[in-house]
Symmetry: C2
């Protein structure tokens, strides 16, 4: 099949992706509360009705943009989790990367941070899904470290939640802003602390 006779499903996915990308750009430029579906449609030279064919409401576009941003962080985290290096090295890289990617996405850009605030205040389910996905990546790395003898054997699922929770100050966009004036501990110090706990193991 050539590119010219593209299947409708993939063209639909492409239009969806263009709407999300345009919405994200407008959220950064004019703010996520102020951006209307008409603004997004105008940028794409399509009718608002066409946008509504893909998204039932403005709220659905908000969630799709959040999902896209979180998906980028998850993809980078997945590459690290299943990449090269010891479990300790991958855990270090995971936490430092998540901190840096979240800072790029949600902190530097005040207008986009407003979307984070709304997502947190309104408990968007996409946040819980994101936490679960990152938990699962931590768990994969920690289980590998337990198998390899780097970490003391134990419940890798619980250990993953403990590491993720211990590092919440470096992953949670609102906390990152709140704690900006308290530089210590740095994320690298927290990772070493977590690694010490994983090496020692939690006696039950």
């Amino acid at each position: 099949m050539s590119n010219v006779t593209e299947a409708p499903a993939s063209r639909e996915a492409e239009t969806r992706a263009r709407i999300v990308a345009t919405a994200e750009r407008l959220f950064r430029e004019i703010g996520f509360q102020k951006t209307t579906v008409a603004d997004i449609a105008r940028e794409l030279r399509m009718s608002p009705a066409n946008v509504y064919r893909f998204f039932g409401s403005k709220a659905e576009i908000h969630v799709a943009v959040a999902r896209q941003l979180m998906g980028e962080v998850e993809a980078a985290a997945r590459r690290i989790a299943f990449g090269q290096g010891s479990a300790a090295e991958r855990l270090r890289a995971l936490i430092v990367s998540i901190e840096s990617l979240n800072a790029d996405r949600y902190i530097a850009d005040r207008k986009l941070h407003d979307m984070v605030e709304a997502a947190l205040d309104q408990h968007w389910p996409t946040i819980d899904e994101h936490i679960d996905r990152i938990d699962a990546l931590f768990e994969a790395v920690i289980a590998a470290g337990m198998d390899a003898g780097e970490f003391e054997k134990g419940d890798a699922g619980l250990a993953a939640k403990l590491v993720h929770t211990a590092c919440i100050r470096f992953c949670h966009p609102r906390l990152m802003v709140e704690c900006a004036d308290r530089p210590e501990p740095a994320s690298v110090q927290m990772v070493e602390f977590c690694l010490a706990a994983l090496r020692r193991g939690v006696s039950r």
Copy 2:
């Protein structure tokens, strides 16, 4: 000196304390935004002008109530930190008590939680002072544990900040609300994780 010929300074302190206690009760009953200085004065059968002799503004009363609530938590934490038991036992008791005292103060009472939100959003300096005071108590217990050979020797000040930050989900009122639907890890599990890290020590 008898109670009758009380010094003016202590009478002033008593009036101040009564204003703060009355404000706190009204914040719980009618909400901290809705409570006016006139409401507080009426409850105390004094004039608003007299309240303003003690507090320059309504905002000063807000901060005094927050300080009072945090001071109660600090006093309980101080008793534990300088009380009986091994360093590990005191660290366990500290974190579990802070979680429970904060839950009593800021979570159960939705109207008081609004004050927490305002304090966080407006960066009341009293929050930073509170974090520093709790950090210092963690440091005292960890330093004692290092001296006693319970924990690996190291920088007790940094270790205190690491433990406090690792436990932020159990100490920070807004996070406690946000994470209410994620019961794992529990605070007792996080304390054991931190104790494992302290016993192992962070290799530099």
